[in-house]
Structure formats: C-alpha cells, structure tokens
C-alpha cells in the first residue's frame, strides 16, 4: 500500500467523521479536519522531497475488458500541485479555526472542507479523465456545500445553486469531450492518450476536426470550473461563502483545477521528454487543430480583460478580489491557449499563494469590521491592524507584479508567452489587464487601509489573533519567495526557467503597467471618501458586470423556464390530452356509449344477447 493513498483516505475519513459528529462535537470535528490536512501536507512535502514518480490504481468499474480505474499518478506536476493544495488548505484550515469559532454549524463546515481536500487531491493525482471527472464533480459539490454554508440566507442558497448549475453546464461539455476523446484515442487515461498521440501519425481532416471539437468540449469543463467567459457568473456570487472558503476554493485551488486539467490534457500530446522544449512540442501538439488553441486563448484574454474592468467598480472587498481572480485565471487560460503551459502553471502556482493571502487578509478585515464588506465603510485600517495591512499590501504588490515578488516572475512569463506566441493582438490586452490590476488593487488598498475610518465598525476594528495572522505571515513569505528559481524549481508544478531580461519589452511594459496603475489609483482614490469615477455610464456598465447576469437571468427565464412551461403545457394538452389521452378518452367514450345499453332492463339484455348469438352464428356459419 502506497503512502499516497493516505492523501485520499485522511480527508475523506475526516469528512465522514465530521458528518457523524454533526451537531455534537463541533470543536473535535474542526481539530480533526485540521489535523488531517496537516498530515496530508506533510505527506505531500515528503513526496516532493522524495522526488520520484509513483503510480498505482485499482479497477473501480470493470465490464469485460473495459475498466474504469481509480488511481494516482504522482508526477512532478501533481506533486507540485499537491503542495499548493495542501499548503494553502492547511493555512486556510488554521485560519478557519478562529474565523468560524462562533458558527453553529462548524462541524459541517470542516467536514465540507475535508471533503473538498479529498476531491481536490483526486483531481490533482488522477491518472485518467474519468477519475478526474468524478472528483471534478465532487469538487463542485463541496464548493456548492461551502458556498451555501449559510443556507438560511436566500442569497447564499441562490449563489450555491448558481455555482453548481453553472459548473454543470461546463461539465456537460467536459463529459462530451471525454467521450469523444475516448472514442478517438480509445483510452481515457492520460498515459493512454499520450501513447495514442505519439503513435497515431497524421489524422484525417474529419478526425482532426473531431479532436479539435473534443478539445474545446473538454475546455468547456475548464470554462465552468475556472469561471471563464461565458460561465464566469458564478464566481463573484460564490463570495457568499465564508471567506476562508473563498481563499481556498474560489481563489487558490478549485478554480485553478480547470487550468491544471487542460495542462494535463495538453501534456499528453507532448511526446517523449519534451517538457521544457517548446519547439519540440510543436509537432505533436499540432495534432490539435489551431482553431481550438485560438478559441481557448481568446476566451482567456476576453475574460481577463472584462473581469479587470468589472473589478474597477466593485465596492465589496471580496467581489473585487473575485473579479481579480477571474482576471488572473483569464491570464492562465490565455497562456494555455497560446501553448505556454509552463507559464500558465507557474502563474497558477504563484497566484495561489498571494490570492489566498489576499482573501485571508480580507477575511481578517471583514472579521475585524464585524462582517462589513463594503470598502467605503472601512478606511484607515493600517493603524488598527498593521500586520494584516502589511501582509495585504505585499500580496497586492505580488498580484500587481511588483519586481522581486512571486507575481512578478510569473506575470513576466505570461507576458512573454503573449508577446511571442500570440503577437500584439494578445500582448496589448495583456498589458492593459496588468495596468487595470494594479489600479483596482491599489484602489482597494487605499480605500481600505488609508484615509480615515468611515464607519463605526472600522473604528472599532483591531488586530486579529495569532491563529489568524500566522497563516497570513506564512502566505506572505510564500508570496514573496515562491517565484525564485531555487524554490520554484523545486515546488512549482511545471517550471520552465526563463531568465528575466531587464531590457525586454515584457519587462518594460510590466514595470510601466505597474507605475501607470499605481499613479492612477493614487490620483483617484488616495484619501478619498467616495468613488470619483462612479456615476458615469461606463462605470455603471462595469459595476453591473456588463449586465451579463441580468442577461442570463432573462435568458434562463425566457429559454429554460418559458420552454419548460410551454413543454409542460403541451405535455398536458398534446400528449396527456390528445395523443395518448385520446386513448383513454375514447375508452371513456365507448364506455359512455355502452353505458346506454346497460339500462338495467332484463329484456333489453335478453334482446341484445339474442342478437349477439345471431351475429355469432351468422359469422361462424355463413361468413367464415
């Protein structure tokens, strides 16, 4: 028995025990869950240090020669990802202990967190698409449960439902993609697909098109899970969940699963030892037609840009972070689409740390301000809670790509990919997003931490306890050092070192974007009590997220519900009433007709009986 199985067993056991303890031993459940995640982190680290690929599986469902397997494949990418998942997970668990202390349903919360850890582990370590899909769905479930943690609130319950359903739409495509890949490659395991890809030679045009369609279908899954346009609407709403959950699931890990899965898929098409050799990749990767690649990249950059615009006009601290997550995920997707898997995974890895830090920091702020989330009702918190403020600031710098932070290195690689493989069409929006990122993040920092206290809650805020700021500090350390080669080379899921060229256009634009964004934010928001930019048409459009939610609501109402109503109507009338109901109707009609004959009159019966006998005689003797 491989020790890796413990990565699965510990969280699921803790989740199960947590469920059983529901309503009773809240605190025990919480500690148990935290202990299990610490244990998995230790195992992950030991796996990373051991540094060798392990693999094992068992047949989960077998029909004849066909087997669906559950197994793990702990290669470099999976091991690195496990560090991110269990690392952030561990810190979030610790942070949650005080954060959720007073919650009545603490046991449920921690059980769900453990369930999430289990499912996420499954995705990361999975060695085939079906297993990925299963855990993919389970991740969706735990996300649903955690968003709906405060299910008594209408908005939380609705947000949870929305998240699950939106993901379902993505999974619809994902499943089709898996089936098509299975049909084409004859295997659902990543190794099997890689084997097929390296031996198949050239494809017929039909098969190329099918493969492209399959790729896009699989990408649908990623669109759902990583909240890309047009299925991004659930992520901001998901902020209804407890803030530590947002940090873990909706910033660092689960939403990154889409990227992770796409990279997993594409690495199947890289033959042999092609890791880190982009030129060599090209031949095998070209099995997948370019329209698929382009679509992915375009969706990525569009999401990134739109989300960045939306973020500039949000007032809820968590919503701003949510849109920023969207925007950064868009970056990663674009990088994947531009065949820069390494850059994408690298950004995923650094982003996980500082975005988790931002969310936990915002959690600390919200906690300190008595669950106030509107940034305009905060202000001046730098003095009140210095540790939180400083860690938050560092994370902001990392997100904005300030040199020497982790974000700087990864953003550098993204820009590089955009410039070299995408051309100006991708590079300019990428830089624009970088400017906007700095702008809205510093808007947030200036409004929340500087200026004067704008509400009573903010006045009474004070620094959070050690169980909360220790995770913040740990994450801050990671947010700074994670990008350096020595560390990233060890830990990052897929690392391809690229020396930063200080004279290159990427570097210059990155620095430029940072400065422009910072200056703009400073001019508009430093020491201001209200949003000077709000009120015009454009900002309204941004604040209302381009009205996409409203559009979807209309769409759902018109298409789903109206169609449902019409179909229901026809079902009653046409099928229940005429088509098949006619059968029963005619039976009833005949019944009414024959009822007339049942006069209860004996003589009538006798007459009919006689007539019947005559008829039978006539038919049997004279006709047949």
């Amino acid at each position: 028995m491989d020790i890796t199985w413990l990565l699965f067993l510990l969280p699921i056991a803790s989740a199960a025990i947590g469920w059983l303890l529901l309503n009773k031993q809240h605190t025990l459940a919480a500690y148990l869950s935290t202990a299990s995640v610490i244990a998995t982190f230790v195992i992950s680290v030991s796996m990373l240090l051991a540094g060798k690929d392990t693999q094992a599986s068992f047949n989960w469902a077998s029909v004849g020669d066909f087997h669906v397997k559950i197994g793990f494949m702990a290669d470099q990418m999976a091991r690195g990802m496990m560090i991110v998942v269990t690392g952030v997970g561990m810190l979030v668990h610790v942070f949650s202990l005080p954060y959720m202390k007073k919650d009545a349903a603490k046991a449920r919360y921690f059980a769900c967190l453990s369930l999430f850890m289990f499912s996420m582990t499954g995705i990361v370590l999975s060695d085939n698409f079906l297993m990925t899909f299963m855990f993919w769905e389970l991740v969706g479930l735990s996300s649903y449960l955690l968003i709906g943690h405060w299910y008594q609130k209408e908005s939380a319950a609705d947000a949870a439902k929305k998240a699950f359903l939106t993901n379902r739409i993505g999974d619809f495509g994902f499943m089709i993609g898996i089936l098509m890949i299975w049909g084409i490659a004859g295997s659902v395991s990543f190794a099997g697909i890689a084997d097929w890809a390296s031996h198949v030679g050239t494809l017929t045009p039909l098969m190329t098109a099918t493969l492209g369609a399959a790729t896009l279908c699989i990408f649908c899954g990623a669109i759902g899970k990583s909240a890309q346009m047009p299925l991004h609407v659930w992520l901001p709403d998901a902020m209804e969940g407890p803030t530590p959950v947002s940090a873990l699931i909706h910033a660092a890990t689960m939403v990154a699963a889409g990227i992770f899965m796409m990279v997993r898929f594409f690495t199947c098409f890289e033959t042999g030892e092609a890791h880190g050799a982009p030129e060599a990749d090209h031949a095998a990767v070209s099995l997948i037609p370019s329209f698929a690649w382009t679509t992915i990249a375009v969706i990525g950059i569009v999401t990134s840009l739109a989300a960045a615009f939306m973020a500039t006009q949000q007032d809820d601290i968590k919503k701003i972070l949510a849109y920023s997550t969207l925007s950064q995920l868009g970056y990663m997707v674009m990088a994947v689409g531009l065949q820069g898997s390494e850059a994408s995974m690298f950004h995923l890895y650094t982003h996980a740390w500082f975005k988790a830090l931002l969310f936990l920091g915002s959690g600390a702020v919200i906690y300190a301000c008595h669950h106030e989330q509107n940034i305009w009702k905060m202000g001046g918190l730098l003095k009140k809670m210095p540790i939180t403020a400083i860690t938050f600031l560092i994370a902001t710098l990392a997100l904005a790509g300030f040199p020497m932070t982790a974000g700087f290195f990864s953003k550098e690689q993204i820009l590089h990919v955009a410039n070299h493989q995408g051309g100006m069409l991708f590079f300019i929006p990428t830089v624009l997003v970088a400017i906007l990122t700095t702008f809205y993040m510093f808007r947030l920092v200036f409004v929340v931490f500087f200026g004067k206290n704008r509400s009573e809650n903010a006045e009474h805020a004070h620094e959070v306890g050690p169980l909360m700021f220790i995770p913040l500090i740990a994450l801050t350390v990671m947010a700074v050092i994670a990008g350096y080669e020595g560390i990233a080379g060890q830990m990052a899921p897929l690392f391809h070192h690229e020396k930063v060229n200080f004279g290159s256009i990427e570097f210059l634009s990155s620095i430029g974007a940072f400065i422009v964004g910072l200056v703009l934010a400073f001019v508009f928001y430093f020491n201001k009590d209200e949003d000077k930019l709000s009120g015009n048409v454009l900002s309204k459009v941004f604040a209302n997220k381009f009205y996409i939610d409203e559009f979807y609501a209309k769409l759902v109402r018109v298409f789903q519900d109206a169609v449902a109503a019409v179909v229901h109507f026809f079902d009653e009338i046409l099928i229940g009433g005429i088509l098949v109901g006619g059968l029963s109707r005619s039976a009833a009609g005949f019944g009414a007709l024959f009822r007339r004959l049942h006069s209860g009159n004996l003589q009538g019966y006798a007459t009919l009986f006689g007539a019947g006998a005559l008829l039978i005689i006539y038919l049997t003797v004279f006709v047949f």
Binding site: G64, F66, L141, E154, H568
Partner: protein
Amino acid sequence: MLLALVFIPIAAAIAIWAGSPARLTAIVAGIINLVLGLIAASSWLTNPEIGSVTYSVLSKPDIALSFSLYDGMSVVMLLLSVIVLAAAVFSGQCPAGREKLWYSNTLLIAAGAIGAFLSDDLFFFYAFHELALIPTFILIGTLGRRNRKAAAWKITIYLAFGSMVLLAGLLWLVSATEVSSLSFDTLLAASIPGEAQKGIAALLLIGFGTLISLFPFHSWAAPAYASAPAPVAMLHAGVLKKFGLYGLIRLFPLVSEGMQHWLIVLIVLLLGNIIWVGFVTLNQKRLDTMLGNSSVMHMGYVFLAIAALIAAGGEGNSLAIPAAVTLMFAHGVSIALLFALADKVEKQTGTLELQELGGLASKAPTLAFFFGLAGMASIGLPGLANFSGEILVFLSGFANYDPAKGFGPVQIATIIALWGVVISAVYMLRAFRQTFQGPEASSVKSAKNLSLLELAPIGLLTLALLAVGLYPNLILQLLK
C-alpha cells in the same frame, strides 16, 4: 430459497388478512426477504443454480412455475426488490385503521415483482407482473393522496393498455419462435424470421415502453406517483417499473434485427423522455410530481443504453447491458429513497407545494442531509450509484464510435442526452433550495428531525446507493 423469496411476502400478506399484526408481520417478512435475497445474491457467484425450482403446470405448451437466478440481471433486480421492499414496508406511514389493506398490498406488489424477476418462464414472468399491478391500482385508488381516483384510473388504463400490447407482442413472439416451451432457455435458443421480428419489436417497444413510461406514453407516471402512498411509489417507481426494461433486455436477443428498424424512432422517443420530460419536470410546482416526472426522465438513459445495444448490431456492445442494469438498480434505489423522504417532508410540513416550503434544513438537518444525498444521487453525483450507471450508459453510447466515420445517431443522442444531466441538476437543486434552504417558511415551523426509527429504511437505501456508487464492481461483477 427462491420459492421462499416469492412466497414469504404472499404468505405474510395472507397472514395479515388473517389477523396477524400488520406492520410487524410486514417488516419481519421484509427483513427475512432482504436477508434471503442477499444470501442468494452472494452465493449466486459460486453456485448459479442456487435455489432453482421448477413445477410443471402445463405440458402443451410447456409452462412451468420455475424460479431461478437466470443471469446477473436477475440477481441485481432481486437485490433491488428486496432492498426496496424492506425499506418500503418500514417507511410507510399508514393511515390508522387501514393497516391490513396497506401492508398486505404492499407485500403483494413486491411478491409480484420478485416473482417476475425470478421466473424463467415467459408465462409467469408476465403473470407475476400483472399480479403486482393489481394491488398497485388498489392502493393508489383507495389510500392515495389528493386526486387519487383520477390517478388510479389513469395508471390503470395506461398500464392495462401497455400490458395488452405487450401480451400481443409476447404471443406473437412465442408463435413465431415455434417452440413448445415457454421457458427462457428454449425461447432464447430459438430464432425468429426477420419480417416477424419487426412487428414483434414494435409491439414489445410499445408494450414494455408504456410500462416503463417511455415518451409519449409517460403521462400516467407523474400523477400516479404523486398520488400513490409512499410505499407504492417506492415499489412501483423503484422496482416494478424495471420489469419492462428487464423484459426488453431479456428478450432483446430474439428481436435484435427487428429492433434495428425502430432505432431512430426509439432514439427520438428516449430523447423525448430526457429532454421533453426534463423540461416538464422543470416546470413542476410540487415536490411529488417533480419526483414522478424525474423518474420518467431517467428512464430515458436506460433506453439510451438499449439504443446503443441495438445500434451495435452484430458487433455487440459489451457495455450496454451492464450499464443499463446498473442504472436500473441505482435509479430504483434512489427514487425509492426520494419518495420515502418526500413522504417524510409531507409528514413534517403537511405540504409538498414548493412555494409553501423553505428552510426545512435548520429544523430537520438529517432529513435535509439524506434528501440532498438522494437528490445528488439522482442527478448523478460521483460516489453514488446513479453516477456509475450513467457514466457507463454514456460510455456505452460511444463504445462503437468509429472516429473515421464520425458520429452515428447513438452518439448524437448521447450528446443530447447529456444535456439532461444539466436539466436534472436544475430541477433537483431548485427543489432542494426551495424545500430546505432559505428562510424558514410557516409550514416548517413545527417540523421535527428524523427519528432513529425513521432513519433505518433510509439508511438502508443510502447504504445501497453508497456501496454501488463507491465501488460499482459490486454490481458489475454479477453482470459478467
């Protein structure tokens, strides 16, 4: 042993009429049956002949009351029947004074279903199903809810129609095979000329289809299940309805060529089940009708597996039958669980109108947990039995896919059918959201959590869902 499985419920029903304490007798019979069923299923792997009995009834044509576990499908269906039976007799809340009628008829339904699944003689296969239908009609008509009369009439007319068409099909089938014995062994060894196959296949599809609520013969199902007492809904939707699928798969080898003619028709109809009825389900305003319609909708997936089987033709599709049977089992357990839980919801709140419900989870967290679990099962969440079935069904749809030729009708159907997964998630989550989440509605103010006693049958069904969901090979090893 198999004889006992069929006749213990009948004997218990008679004993109840004769005056033994109704609920106790029924529960004891249910538990004995459950234990016997589990023993029979587990020993079947080593000894396929276990418990086979044959009593000749007629010599020409050769009809025999003959029970055996004919193949893995019978074993799985037997398991499903005994599990749901045990849960159904346990979980029902009988109106005071009607215990005799309630429990004896419940037992008879189960006896009929078990008898049909165990019979390896066409005559008794059909007859036992009819035996099970009669108490179904009686219970819906007498002890049902709301407009039970209309629902009882509707189900009676539809199912009688279906049975009649089916009987015609079976008679034609028997006469076309020109064998003198009605046992499956002889029947399945025979062959039918192509022309006759076409007609027989059509009759079987319509006949069995009506019993399974194949679109457009489905409109009996939702009102009947909504009006039926919980045990009847559990047993009919969970077990008895699978009779049609069981029969279709069982007799399929005889008419495999004839089915080819109807492949496209069947695909259109099954998509009607999934998409059309899916939309109908979306529009339901009551929990019970929603569950009834959802059960109709899920039948479409099983038909999808059958369509894949038909389309495979001579090549064969080794995935299709295990997929269908797994899904039948999973759907049976999950829908029974849902009906049992909906009954509890009604008991606690007095209503099933989604508008009047809300926030039940804070009053009855255990109920909410199990309902959520069952709902998640029915929308195909991994780790629960339905997913194992659905994923195999979808895989079977693509099993014979030739990338060089592009999509065939079955592949296209599979892709469209996948949208049903989204639809079912929408209505199930909507219902769960309306019933259990949000602020407390006035109807749930006095609701209480599930008691331990009520938990027993629900736990049993949940266990079955989880066992097959976590390790589907439990079922699949029977279906080799």
